[in-house]
């Protein structure tokens, strides 16, 4: 086996959404990085829905952005329809969503990766992992060439032993038209890791010119698109419409008549699919009362005539797909450009990971994205970023970065992944966070910019902008606290409908009133008008929702007690008396890092946590007195 010669700090395997973030992070943190992809033409490919964001996912993007990741900037530069969801609702559930120009998205990310000085982008299919003792040392590609490195980040997506199902036919492939990656999962098994199988699917792509848009309801984007990134001033990309069509009884009948030809229903698929993203045949079977399902028909790009019909993923044969699409309004003469398909792939059970996304078995080996049983570009990117950061920190011997559940959705996701067993592809939902009201898009900068700065991913320009905003917010808080409306100011009292004002009312209390907004107050006070809209929004949210926010903070405090009690990595659960065998197995499988973590594991009872606490304290005390 020949060696490439160059010694890398980090090798990232796979150049999808996880891989790009991982490689950019390690290179930007000063590590010599190699990014290996099976196809240089499919960097940051959107294999399914060409959109970024949405509830909880948009939150992840803003966190990635604040930490110095690329996803937010990339969609801002290539998005062709931006919509803010839930603008009428509270701040915690407002989220951005944008339709991407799929090819532009991929091209821009590729050029960013190519420009990064310490980052080599190369084509090559990894077939084996190289290790010495319990440490990773590099990878081997199909051509027999060996690349050496101190750490490896695996982001294999749906490619490991990918098997594509279209109707009753199936063939190996990592994505339609691309080969699967064979050998790698066997290599992981040899390293002692448990490998499982999941399934996902995608709908057919429709030819734009065959769609009768005059019959469809159109859905425009927001008049003023709001960027994802803290660093983007303005969206300059030309914006386009999406369209809405519906299935009907006839569509459903065709699907029902052909269920025996579906890979899903004929028993050909062993992997488990996501419940939140059911195939159209799943929907028809599971909700027989619904006589119609909505679909958004979304453009894949300005230069492309492929249209993506959302919620229509399937594993029925192409002829059946064509037949049922043509029953739908506006799609009577539709042509399919690519058929929809289901895909099964290998993943590695994420309970075998540490909170840094490093495998417990193999030092220096990190996993991110679909290999961890997740779905979604945003979920993948967030993990890629965290895995990259931790790989770089390891190379530089600078410790590790673990994000708490109270700090961000990134923390919620990673904690869920390493704690709960995976029963379906994991997608982020806001309901997964017990601290939803704290984890908002609007304060992602406050939650992560300093962290990003401390690890070297936040550059000077972002850091200065961030500090400026923070100063403005502080200034605004002071102003609202220190300035009063008194009965002497008859004009304002009347304007704000304050009626009989006995003593003065400070502006902070005034803003707390349900009908009051920061705009109304700022309109009357020149000092506030000097603040940026983002600072004003922050000010308003922090004050208006302070009651709820404080309650959430108290909840965080309460959970911190157990968070502080660390469990040593080398703990032997067989040594802890009184634990049931069952609980011992759960603990041994997940290897929690602290007591709170242990308590979140399914099947670990409060009594078991108490016993563990007792054991740990005893051991700790014993150690101390021995010194």
């Amino acid at each position: 086996m020949s060696s490439y010669g160059k010694k890398y700090d980090v090798i990232v395997v796979g150049a999808g959404h996880a891989g790009c973030e991982a490689a950019l992070a390690t290179a930007r943190m000063g590590c010599l990085t190699l990014l290996l992809t099976m196809g240089l033409d499919t960097v940051a490919q959107m294999s399914c829905n060409p959109s970024i964001g949405g509830l909880a996912k948009g939150h992840l993007v803003s966190e990635i952005d604040a930490l110095g990741g690329e996803m937010g900037l990339n969609i801002d530069a290539t998005g062709i329809q931006f919509r803010r969801l839930n603008t009428k609702k509270g701040p915690a559930v407002r989220a951005g969503r944008a339709q991407a120009d799929r090819m532009a998205y991929s091209a821009r990310m590729k050029s960013i990766v190519e420009k990064e000085p310490l980052l080599d982008l190369k084509q090559g299919m990894v077939v084996d992992l190289l290790s010495e003792a319990d440490r990773i040392t590099g990878v081997r590609i199909r051509e027999g060439l060996k690349f050496e490195s101190r750490t490896v980040v695996l982001t294999t997506g749906t490619f490991m032993r990918g098997l594509i199902h279209v109707g009753l036919n199936n063939y190996s492939g990592g994505r339609a038209g691309e080969p699967s990656s064979e050998g790698l999962s066997e290599s992981l098994r040899r390293l002692g890791l448990n490998v499982g199988r999941l399934k996902t699917g995608t709908p057919a792509r429709l030819s734009s010119r065959s769609i009768d848009y005059s019959k469809l309801e159109s859905q425009p984007g927001d008049a003023v698109p709001k960027p994802f990134s803290f660093m983007t001033d303005k969206i300059t990309c030309e914006q386009v419409n999406c369209y809405i069509s519906y299935t009907n009884e006839e569509t459903h009948q065709i699907i029902r008549d052909n269920l025996d030809k579906s890979a899903l229903f004929s028993g050909n698929i062993e992997g488990i699919g996501p419940r939140y993203c059911p195939s159209i045949e799943d929907k028809v079977v599971r909700f027989p009362d619904r006589n119609s399902h909505q679909t958004f028909i979304e453009p894949e790009g300005r230069m492309s005539s492929e249209m993506y019909p959302s919620g229509m993923s399937t594993s029925l044969p192409p002829d059946v797909q064509l037949k049922y699409f043509r029953t739908m309004i506006g799609l009577e003469k539709v042509e399919l450009m690519r058929p929809g398909y289901a895909i099964e792939y290998d993943f590695v059970e994420p309970t075998q990971l540490k909170m840094t996304l490093e495998t417990r078995n193999v030092n220096g080996l990190y996993h991110a994205g679909q290999i961890n049983g997740t779905s979604g570009y945003e979920e993948a990117a967030a993990q890629g970023l965290l895995a990259g950061i931790n790989a770089a920190l390891r190379c530089k011997e600078k410790g590790e970065l673990i994000v708490g559940r109270d700090q961000g959705y990134i923390g919620v996701m990673i904690d869920d992944l390493v704690t709960q067993s995976t029963t379906e592809p994991y997608r982020m939902f806001t309901s997964r966070s017990e601290y939803r009201l704290l984890l908002r898009e609007d304060n992602a900068d406050q939650r992560f910019t300093e962290l990003g700065r401390s690890i070297g991913l936040v550059e000077d320009d972002r850091w200065e902008l961030y500090q400026e905003k923070q100063e403005q917010v502080a200034k605004g808080e002071r102003f609202l606290r220190e300035n009063m409306i008194t009965s002497a100011n008859k004009e304002l009292v009347e304007k704000f409908g304050l009626g009989q004002l006995k003593s003065g009312l400070d502006l902070e209390s005034l803003l707390r009133r349900p009908e009051m907004t920061i705009e109304k107050i700022a309109a009357e006070h020149a000092d506030l008008q000097t603040l940026s809209p983002a600072a004003l929004e922050q000010l308003e949210i922090a004050i208006k929702y302070s009651g709820y926010i404080e309650r959430q903070l108290e909840m965080v405090e309460r959970s911190k007690e157990y968070e502080k009690i660390k469990i040593p990595e080398d703990i032997d659960y067989a040594d802890v008396d009184s634990l049931s065998t069952e609980v011992r197995e759960y603990l041994d499988k997940v290897r929690p890092v602290n007591l709170a973590h242990a308590g979140r594991i399914q099947g670990v009872t409060p009594a078991a946590v108490a016993i563990l606490n007792v054991y740990l304290r005893k051991k700790y005390h014993a150690k101390n007195s021995a010194r």
């Binding site: 509270g90 559930v93 309901s431 349900p514 005893k618």
Partner: protein, 453 residues
């Protein structure tokens, strides 16, 4: 388990003894005392380990009880934290008022075994002792569940499960609306939220009222003394009362035939009920008394059937025996100092032989009664009040959150705030009946709604 806040719990068994001790442990212990304690000697400075006399008052300076209080400073205390003990009168009502006063002040009711747990955590106990505590905590959880079941004949558990189920359904709706804003979810379902929350609030209120009546708490175990006239019932009653009497209350309103006396037997609060002799008679007044006694048999925790051992067994004894046959019964052969004449070979229930005169067999009888009752009460002894207070606490917190839901709905607040309060209220209910996990909520969403991006 939080180890840094201040906790409170009764340190003595409920209803036992003339004096009850309420223990407070944690950083706010001394402040808690100072807040509501009015020492007889003014302007005192509390020194550790000294006993002070005075009155305990509530938020409105209303007298709660005359008490003795002692403050013990860390670390030389049971828990190694600051500890305050309040010695008050041994009435459940007083203890309850004191606990409620301090709950309002912000103290937390100690979990079962928590004082011991803290003692361990602070390094006072060794591992084997502490492990025993940990096992105890586990056992306590089970027994308090059992207690909750038995307390309101299983109603409480069923109620809580029902509340949980209804609120969980609402939570599923709300979360579905939050996480899937673009899906076509049934709008009329949202209106359902307010109705459900209102009705759950109403039902929780009713439940809380029954707790406040303190009825369940006041009931100890009841022991019924049955037997034909002159079998020795009154003598046994007096003997037990004479030696064991702690709090004696005459319950007015009982018939002349039923006399109830409260005592503590082997640490268990017990009501001894003397009945008129059981015999068939033509006298309508006497038969009324007999009828009442027979009614009581069905409800008693234990029946002591007394049979005079110095006489032949007669029809009246057999009649009494038959009346008690299906009830938990000890047969007590009295007058064992005299020559034994009665043939008790027909008795299949546990049989004890005593003499009031010499005291022979009395200790064995008491021990047996204690053991029998303790089977159910050993856990209840310390936690009957705790578990109930915990339920009461949890329900009050649940209520507060649900009222927030209504207010938020009324104000047209966004759903995530409503979800927050529903989640919080479910968490409080979960303290009584096990938790609702996010995963079960998501599963609920996926099973009910057609979700797909």
């Amino acid at each position: 388990m939080n180890l840094s806040d201040t906790i409170i719990a009764p340190a003595t068994a409920v209803g036992e003894g003339g004096i009850a001790v309420v223990r407070i442990s944690g950083p706010r212990a001394l402040d808690s005392l100072k807040k509501y304690f009015r020492p007889t000697t003014h302007n005192i400075k509390f020194s550790s380990q000294r006993l002070y006399h005075g009155t305990l008052v509530d938020q409105d300076e209303q007298h709660i009880d005359e008490i003795m209080a002692v403050y013990m400073s860390a670390p030389h205390t049971y828990t190694c934290d600051d500890v305050v003990e309040i010695h008050c009168h041994g009435s459940q009502q007083v203890v309850k008022s004191i606990l409620n006063l301090y709950f309002d002040y912000g103290l937390r009711l100690a979990d079962a075994g928590e004082f011991t747990y803290r003692a361990f955590a602070n390094g006072r106990l060794d591992l084997s002792q502490a492990e025993a505590v940990a096992r105890l905590i586990h056992a306590k959880t089970d027994s308090s569940r059992k207690l909750a079941l038995s307390q309101v004949e299983g109603q409480l558990s069923r109620c809580i499960d029902d509340f949980t189920e209804r609120l969980r359904k609402i939570q599923i709706l709300v979360e579905a609306w939050i996480d899937f804003p673009e899906e076509e979810l049934p709008r009329e379902d949202l209106e359902h939220i307010e109705r459900t929350v209102s009705s759950v609030i109403e039902e929780i209120n009713t439940l809380i009222d029954t707790f406040n009546s303190g009825k369940v708490l006041a009931d100890g175990a009841s022991i019924l003394l049955v037997g034909r006239p002159n079998a020795g019932k009154s003598s046994l009653l007096n003997k037990l009362l004479g030696e064991e009497r702690a709090i004696v209350t005459d319950i007015p309103g009982t018939t002349r035939d039923l006399l109830e006396e409260g005592i503590t037997l082997a640490g268990v609060p017990v009501r001894l009920v003397d009945t008129a002799g059981l015999r068939q008679s033509d006298d309508p007044v006497e038969m009324e008394g007999v009828k009442r006694a027979i009614d009581k048999i069905g409800h008693a925790d234990l029946v002591l059937l007394l049979i005079d051992g110095s006489k032949e067994v007669d029809d009246q004894d057999i009649y009494s025996y038959r009346s008690c046959e299906t009830a938990p019964t000890f047969v007590v052969e009295t007058k064992s100092d005299l020559e034994k004449i009665a043939d008790l070979s027909f008795v299949t229930h546990p049989l004890y032989s005593i003499s009031i005169k010499t005291g022979e067999g009395l200790d064995e009888l008491k021990e047996a009664i204690g053991e029998y009752l303790l089977g159910d009460y050993i856990a209840a002894n310390e936690s009957v009040m705790l578990s109930e207070q915990r339920h009461y606490d949890s329900l009050v917190s649940t209520l507060k959150n649900l009222q927030n839901v209504l207010i938020a709905l009324c104000e047209g607040q966004s759903l995530e705030f409503i979800a927050f309060d529903i989640r919080d209220s479910l968490q409080y209910l979960g303290q009584i009946s096990g938790e609702t996990t996010t995963d079960s909520v998501l599963s609920g969403i996926f099973s009910q709604f057609c979700i797909g991006k």
